[in-house]
């Protein structure tokens, strides 16, 4: 069982024209940020939380120099280091929130679609209600609620985003389950005596999670934007817990008005770049895997060279 990677990758690779390039560009951008995230301690010249080196305080709003490639901001942080560490924070939150949402949304959707009846109706209603809520508002509410219990760290931020995305996984999985439930192989599973849980695990799961990876990448881009928005509003990750671009951006706005726009430019650029990368990957995946959207590259048919003297057989 399991979604076989080479299979879908081949599918995307064979997709025609633009969507293939979109996917590859997105993948490249995303990979750069992944490298930043993983190797932040080695790439970044300073720690995200560092305001002094060897007892010498960094300048406030210092301009770019060999010590500080992108200068420093109003909190004496080294901007370049904040940007690189920010990739780690962003990706951590994105991966966690999307994973949590999947881990909760997928089984719920499977259960709801398979069992049907009132459980299904209650869950669908609940999820629709959450979905109808503006997502940022929902994230703000959860961030408020979680701030007291979990503080202003990465986990709290990820959890406040999770709730936004659960309904999407739920919906996709529930709807595919509802149609897959009628498949003959599910009836066949019943016929060999499989209990409901086994049917869901062994017969439905592998066949209904196919669309989840695409949804995951699309949500990732959205999650990063929402995280930045939370940070911008001061409800996200606190600057001493981790480096977060949205927060840095909001701090830098005053400076931008005062004429120094570099401290605002860099986090803004980071946010835009990573969102673009993730969106491209998601759209590329979506077009490549979704057969309704897919336009295959025509593979050239190569005829083996005819050897001299060969008869043309009818």
């Amino acid at each position: 069982m399991a979604v076989r990677m080479p299979h879908w990758f081949r599918q995307i690779w064979n997709t025609k024209g633009l969507s293939r390039w979109i996917f590859l560009v997105g993948l490249f951008i995303t990979l750069v940020f992944v490298v930043f995230a993983i190797f932040a301690p080695w790439i970044a010249p300073y720690h995200f939380n560092q305001t002094a080196v060897d007892g010498v305080k960094f300048p406030k709003l210092g301009s770019a120099s060999s010590d500080h490639w992108l200068g420093t901001n109003d909190q004496f942080y080294d901007i370049a280091s904040r940007m690189i560490w920010g990739a780690r924070t962003g990706l951590e939150v994105v991966v966690m929130s999307v994973a949590f949402a999947g881990v909760i949304g997928v089984p719920l959707g499977l259960l709801s679609g398979f069992v049907g009846g009132w459980i299904d109706r209650v869950l669908v209603f609940l999820m629709d209600a959450i979905y109808a809520f503006p997502s940022l508002l929902l994230a703000i509410v959860f961030a408020f609620l979680l701030k007291n219990t979990l503080g202003g760290g990465v986990v709290a931020a990820a959890l406040s985003l999770t709730a936004i995305y659960i309904p999407q996984y739920f919906r996709v999985v529930r709807n595919t389950t509802v149609s897959a439930r009628e498949a003959t192989y599910v009836e066949a599973a019943r016929a060999i005596g499989a209990p409901p849980l086994t049917i869901m695990r062994k017969y439905l799961f592998g066949n209904v999670v196919q669309s989840v990876p695409v949804l995951g990448t699309l949500n990732a881009a959205d999650a990063l934007g929402t995280l930045a928005a939370l940070g911008f509003l001061g409800l996200g990750i606190q600057p001493n817990e981790a480096s977060e671009w949205g927060y840095d951006l909001s701090r830098a706005l005053d400076d931008a008005q005062a004429g120094n726009w570099l401290p605002a430019f860099w986090p803004g650029l980071m946010i835009v770049l990573l969102i673009t990368g993730l969106t491209f990957v998601g759209e590329g995946l979506n077009e490549g895997i979704n057969p309704a959207l897919r336009r295959r590259r025509l593979q050239k048919v190569v005829f083996p060279a005819r050897t001299a003297g060969e008869e043309v057989s009818s």
Binding site: M1, A2, A183, T184, Y185, E187, A188, A189, R190, A191, I192, G193, A194, P195, T198, K202, Y203, G206, N207
Partner: protein, 442 residues
């Protein structure tokens, strides 16, 4: 494996070795109405997919279930395994070693446990296999589910089952996905999965109808070999009388949820009694037994299963229909409209007098029609009758009375005919009244 008795051919042994005993089995599906009627709490329509089927399956026999599309064959087969819920009546399973158990009363784990004894083979082998499970997983899963084998023992038994169905060398198939196999190979895998639990009864729902002509005979031969080697009992569901003739000991002909004729294969083929059986047989061109029965008979459509005809449900299409077949309002409408198709002037003249016929579609043994005066309506009815005085519908009319601007036609009430002994078979048709006083239960 317990030794099982030989194929019982004589009736006495047949009765002593019953595996499945159906008594007035009914499976009704409640159709969901539209959103509005659900809001109003109105009940949707009911499809009587299986309606009052009584039969006994003898250990070791092959019972063919034959009928057109929608006659309820699949539903009957599913009900035998408890996959379709019984609405009324009962199914009793007499296992070789555990005595009688009532399938129709089983639920949950008990029902799932039953599947070690009753198994099913599906029409579409491709759809019946989980696309993301290897053949090894798929065929071995029944053993895993019932906790009957694991590890090397599991693998050994999977290989044994694959060997039995001719998927050898087995190593070539173990790691394959269903999409890597041909249709015939997939059906073999499905059969392997069904026999791995060593069941007593196999319900085969059109097991070869989706396969290439070239592999059909091979799969049927495989099933016969398995039956001999494993002592299986088959319920063979098909719309193809030619394979049924080759494959079955007995045949049950189904029409709209009911068994209309059941008996030994030879008797059914040599002396078909029920008009529906005759029509089915007439549809196979004799010199070419390979030729398939068309899914639907050419003459007439199968009626709506949610509102089957009153009386004998075959009567609207029956060439031999007589008085007691259950004539009703819808037949009258059909007759009037047929009359109109014969002449345009008749339609123009009479349509006004007869008025709207729409309401006749509600099945009833009284039909009120006409808006242009009783005598005019009677005149039209007489004219229609005059065109074809032999039309059996008229014999089913008990009286015609004047009501307001029209008339009310009363039809003789009739229920569906019961299965009755006739020669070597049982037939549900008024043309075959009870032959013996000591009615057989068959």
């Amino acid at each position: 494996m317990p030794t099982k008795p030989d194929t019982a051919t004589t009736e006495n042994r047949e009765r002593s070795a019953t595996v499945l005993d159906l008594d007035q089995l009914a499976v009704h599906f409640q159709l969901q109405g539209n959103a509005l009627s659900r809001l109003l709490g109105l009940k949707g329509r009911v499809v009587k997919a299986v309606d009052g089927v009584s039969l006994r399956l003898a250990r070791g026999e092959v019972l063919g279930v034959v009928g057109e599309s929608g006659s309820g064959k699949t539903t009957l087969g599913r009900a035998l395994l408890g996959l379709a819920p019984t609405s009324s009546g009962s199914i009793t399973y007499q296992s070789a070693d555990r005595g009688p158990r009532v399938v129709s009363e089983m639920r949950g784990a008990e029902l799932r446990g039953l599947r070690t004894d009753l198994q099913m083979v599906f029409q579409d082998p491709h759809a019946a296999l989980n696309p993301s499970m290897t053949i090894e997983e798929a065929v071995g899963h029944p053993l895993v589910i019932h906790g009957m084998a694991q590890g090397p023992e599991l693998k050994r038994r999977v290989e044994e089952a694959l060997d039995k169905v001719g998927l050898s060398p087995t190593e070539r198939f173990l790691t394959k996905l269903p999409s890597d196999l041909s249709g015939g190979q997939k059906q073999r895998a499905v059969i392997a999965r069904a026999i791995i639990l060593d069941p007593e009864v196999l319900v085969a729902d059109e097991p070869v109808s989706m396969l290439d002509m070239s592999v059909r005979a091979k799969i049927l031969q495989l099933m016969l070999d398995l039956k001999r080697d494993l002592g299986l009992t088959y319920v063979y569901i098909t719309h193809d009388l030619a394979t049924a003739k080759y494959f079955c000991d007995r045949i049950a002909i189904m029409y709209l949820g009911r068994v209309v004729e059941i008996g030994p294969t030879e008797e059914i083929f040599d002396h078909p009694r029920h008009p529906y059986t005759k029509a089915l047989l007439a549809a196979i061109p004799e010199p070419d037994p390979e030729k398939m029965l068309p899914r639907n008979l050419p003459r007439g459509e199968i009626p709506d299963a949610a509102e089957p005809p009153l009386g004998c449900s075959f009567h609207p299409r029956c060439p031999e229909a007589v008085r007691g077949c259950g004539w009703e309002s819808r037949d009258l409408r059909a007759l009037v409209e047929e009359h109109w198709t014969r002449s345009d002037t008749a339609f123009d003249d009479e349509q006004q007098i007869l008025g709207d016929l729409e309401h006749l579609d509600a099945p009833s043994t009284t039909a009120t029609l006409g808006s242009g005066g009783s005598s005019a309506v009677r005149g039209i009815l007489d004219r229609i009758k005059g065109e074809d005085p032999d039309e059996p519908l008229w014999s089913g009319v008990t009286s015609i009375e004047d009501t307001g601007p029209g008339v009310t036609v009363h039809f003789e009430k009739a229920g569906p005919p019961a299965l009755r002994r006739a020669g070597g078979v049982d037939v549900a048709c008024v043309l075959y009244p009870d032959e013996t006083s000591d009615r057989d239960e068959a």
